[in-house]
Symmetry: C5
């Protein structure tokens, strides 16, 4: 498994403390904190909408030019009437509450999911510590259990996360990475096909259950009652995996996402045309603003756009968007953790600190 | 039970990984993702409302034609007055907040329920692994317990899900499918009648409790304390079943659903008539828009309609709507799982992987 | 206890499956489903508000008649001014958000409570199965425990539910129904009086704890550790009872309910008078609508009324309203369940299915 | 401890069933229920706002009089202009949503806290029942544990509840009430001072832990494993105490409460002046209404005021407001319960019911 | 560790009861309570916004002066047109709902986090009480475990809390404070670097697990089953640590905070210019108000500003803002608690109270 070890080495920016320093929000009270938030690029509002912004302003100026220099008198009158009509009706599109509902619901689901996301650490720790110490076959059993736990985790998240699917496009790639053995690969390739539709992650969890049963039969648990406790922890892990897939596949209805997208972009189109031409003509200064600096009318649209974006990111948090959960980093962490926790079986405080009491 | 086995074979589109790939939402950041969402038909907004759309536009044009070509001068004046009256009052119907309340509450209940939905896997796994291995009667006991678990699940979901009720219209159909035996059928047919109103699912859970008691009396549990633990897991399963039925039968008040439907359709009727005839007459271009392309006024109504639909789907998520939980697929999964988990009892890691350590 | 048995026989419409069929909401997608919802009478919006509707329209026409045929010119002018004044100010009463808050909070509390409502099944099952089988005194102990559980449940719900209070107005009526014995009645009548204010339900739970202690002392539990587990389950039941009473007595503040009622009915009064008399005079057709068919203005009021009603029903869900929890039906179910579960103690799978393995 | 016993005797209105009858909300469907809610005084909206109402109307009439009889023509013009200015701007103060947010958040926190509030019953019951029966020192140990539990409860709620602080202003008052002994008082007075800042409740919980340890060492637990279980229940109780203090001290930010108060009262001031003087002059009837019966404009303000009040009551639910949790009553209940539960140790079913089976 | 002891001495204002008295909100019903809230400075609205207020009014008067005394006729006309344009459009920026969403979500996350924040007390208590009493090495083992628990807590909160990071800028500072030993420091400095990216807190938790394993091997637990229970409590603690870091680093999206800041300040700018110049000119009295006392227009902006501030404080509750969680105080409490709880191991009720029974 040397391959894996080198593969999962993280670079500086992934050292946990460094990561945390850069991700914690600054203090609220102070001009500096405000600026440091506003000037951030990564995951920023600017990065999210600069393309839409460009297209929007391009179209806006185009319409202004057409109105001023292309249209004849009749065309101008029709345009003014249309602009007035749009201006009047733009308020009647009740975008805000629907967007609020969509984004709120999506974000709340996301937050709920984040606390339910299954971790491998508890399962492995529990199994490792519930065994009798110093069994000759102990390290092998423990290593295999830890590897399978990580494997079940990967097979679960491959289903929902595209980046992980790119990293491990098929079962053979998992073997290459040293995560599964030849024999296991053959078994895994036989399921999730037309004839045997058991999900692969469940297959691996079955193996883990059997390994626990075997450990119980061979009397490897320090206490008999540890067996069922370890099974319970594993069942919780399994439920976590199931919930993750349920979250990704039984999410916000498609029709709702479509409805919100259509309504927001229609609103954008309407604000492009809606302009108070009459008011503009009263004064050159205002005319310039109305024709060339539509900050206030467009701001509303971009607030909607940004908001829509949050909702859409929250609907699929395992992708490659900036605010998404970084599943590949998570994967590396779980692999590292599994090594560390499995090694707990044969480790000893004395090895680390020398003779106790100090 | 060969019949059942073949009956529950799923076709390609039901292979879990394939299902998940097609159900996960695409990334938020990108034009492609946006399009792939908008162009989807299954479960889409278009599929939901195309009929209503057709009726709405049909009526709209009809009214336009009547106004322009049928009515005499007096009729026209009356119509214009009515249109103005509708236009003025249409804003005073506060549909949005009530709809928000209805749909939000319905969706939140649905999400809460989704995490509480009872699964058969934990009950079966727990029972299988808590028994002593290698009992001669073990496989039979385990198979029977697994079958009864699935049976209790089916009897619960038959109550709330119409598709499952269509699949198994009566108890005899369950026997035909190989899920219950003759003897059990006779017992089940005797309850839920005028004279004995015990729900059938509770009957089956009683059998499971008795089977556990028997297992305890015959000393089949690996440890004595496993008995009560298994009972506890079963009680949790029972509570899950009860909650599912409670969710379906004690749901949003009928009067609320009626109120929302009435208000939304009344709003639709009002927007059909409400049209700014005066403004339209100022310019031919706008007149055409007002009379024939009522996108902006109708959009609001369709947003309401779509939203109402989400709420109604969420109120009964076990039906045949596109976003509903596919109970028959779930049923097949549970049957397959019960086979797999029951087989854990007699399986062995060695059978699978050969001699351990590898 | 034959009396009780016959008393709790439910009639056809209470058979669980029949109940569920009629209470599940129909599919969302379809004209039929929509109609079947709209045409329902039981628990419908029509049943809720028909009286208010009658009074409202009666008053409305009365005012119309007074305006048209009773008032002289000065009176008419004053009326028109008043109508305009009301029309203008009716929008400034922000009823909606307050109502939303009230109803949402009440409904959410109700949903939360529904999952916390205590059930007797788990307590009884746990006690029954944790005892050694085949004890000679077993059936009596079990029967007594089951009866006391139901008794504690009744004494709890009598406090919050008027229908149950009507069913069992005093302790003697419980003895008549065969639920308590002479001796127990005498003890129960001594508490909840001026001199001894212990709630009666707590008294019964004390008895159950003592029965458990006795069972432990007489070594009736199959395993010693079962004792504390059973105590824990009972404590959870007790907490559930306490929460139910807390829910009913520490609920929405009275002042809030008063405020909402006052505001909604004031709004109704204002809409009665507020009518656009000027606009009406422009055209006979509109005049008729304004004077005699005030659907749009009144609709808003009835939406508020219906909504207010949901909130008030949710505040006290144990009463006799249509959407209330049917506590007397629940009571019958719990009595039946207690018989069934107590009988598990002496039952046997063999008695039911004959010799196992089949 | 005779002193305490007499001190905690509750009067009739505190008998649980009587309390519950008067606190349960009436049925929603009916004119009677509506009236019985509206006519209630205790905890009513009238009691809450009658003083503000008086001040408001006093000021309103004062302004009317100044306008009509004091001001000269110039003053009148200025007043009319100011009234118009206020009328126009009063709508731009978006009070409602901010209030909704404040009150909703405060109430939700309150409801969440109500279910987390620590109770003494479970801790005491668990300890009492986990001991071996019939130990000679048993009753003393149990009595001491029960007393300490109540003591920890009091020391926790003294911190957050002013009424309880008034009841027990210092540690010596607890000794007078018979709740602590001389020795304990001396120990408690030494903590929470400049030199030793351990909270007093933690001190008592330490004693309880030591009592449990001693019980374990002296082999008083019926089963060895009972020891840690009882510790766990105590830790949950401790966490409940901690959460109660956290709730009271880390609550809604002060600035938010200030902001809401300022905004609501400013709104009130603005509505005092804002009056449609022009419209009023059109007709004597309306003029009287505008000048002397400002029900509609003031109603909005009072809705805000009432709402603000709910929020503020919910922020500190342990005070003396009408809807507050009655901590002194709670205290009495806990004292009574602790006597009852401690007596379970030496009680016997036979003592109560005579020879079993009946 | 004498250094630490003196370092963690808290001054008077940190005595728990004193703290609580000053932090509990006053009663709602009364003029006094209202005033005592309004006049508070610490954590008040005034402290939060006085700088912004100064800048805002400065700019407001500057614009007034420029308009009145600097601009010529053309400039004035342009200004009036611009002011009208801003006034009209200021309402179309829908700030409120977006702010509500942001602040509500942030505050709810914060409240949820507050109940999940990991405490050291339970872990230490559980370990201390699960050991056999009177082991010779007991006090050392217990002291080490307690110290490591605090260490894991510190290493977790150093990541998220700047004040704690200032207090302990590096590992050596922890050694100086007596919290870690030389050997431990060397080990901790080797992780979280480029080559070994295990988070430091996890390292310490590994040591604790190993200490538990060792205790189990050396048979130090009073009962064998205590071992796994203590492991479970530790895993919960670990999960709490992980959730705290997750909360701080996977929080509200940056783009959302940016969007809200931009929108609120743009709104402020618009309200600076937007003034009803025409209305003002009708009467000198109103002109003065419009030009120099813009309380009503600015109030809306400051409500937004205050609200924005709550949200931003809630996003990072571990900083130095007034409403933040005081992590350094928390740290001192945990250190003190760990001493107290570790001392429970060798303490005895007799030592405290003398010979029992009293």
């Amino acid at each position: 498994m040397n391959v894996t070890k080198s593969q999962v080495l993280r670079n500086v920016s992934e050292v946990p403390s460094v990561l945390a320093f850069s991700q914690t929000a600054p203090d609220a009270g102070g001009f500096g904190g405000c600026m440091s938030i506003l000037l951030r690029w990564k995951g920023s509002i600017y990065k999210t909408i600069w393309k839409d912004l460009l297209v929007y302003y391009g179209l806006y100026y185009l319409i202004t030019i057409i109105h001023n220099y292309v249209l004849d008198e009749d065309g101008k009158r029709a345009f003014v009437a249309l602009a007035k009509y749009c201006l009047k009706n733009s308020n009647s599109i009740n975008v805000m509450i629907m967007l609020t509902f969509f984004t709120t619901t999506a974000l709340h689901r996301l937050f709920a999911m984040q606390t339910m996301i299954p971790g491998t650490a508890k399962v492995i720790t529990f199994f490792v510590l519930s065994l009798k110490p110093n069994l000759p076959e102990g390290p092998i059993v423990v290593e295999q259990f830890a590897r399978w736990t990580v494997l079940a985790w990967i097979l679960t998240f491959r289903v929902v996360s595209k980046p992980l699917r790119t990293m491990f496009p098929d079962i053979i790639s998992l073997q290459v990475a040293g995560i599964i053995k030849e024999k296991e690969r053959l078994l895994l390739e036989r399921v999730e096909t037309e004839r045997n539709k058991t999900p692969r992650a469940l297959m691996v969890i079955d193996w883990m259950l059997l390994l626990m049963k075997e450990s119980s039969v061979h009397n490897r648990f320090a206490e008999k009652s540890n067996y069922l406790k370890a099974v319970e922890v594993l069942m919780t892990f399994k439920k976590g995996c199931g919930n993750t897939i349920k979250f990704a596949t039984k999410n916000m209805p498609y029709a709702l996402i479509q409805a919100v997208i259509i309504v927001v972009y229609t609103y954008g189109l309407v604000t492009l045309i809606a302009r108070n031409v009459e008011e503009a003509s009263s004064c050159v200064f205002v005319e310039v603003i109305v024709n060339y600096i539509p900050i206030i009318p467009s701001m509303q649209f971009f607030v909607f756009l940004v908001w829509l974006n949050f909702g859409r990111v929250a609907v699929n948090p395992f992708g490659t968007d900036d605010d998404d959960i970084d599943v590949t980093l998570l994967f590396k962490t779980h692999v590292q953790d599994s090594f560390r926790l499995a090694s707990l079986y044969s480790q000893d405080l004395e090895q680390i600190f020398g003779q106790m009491p100090q």
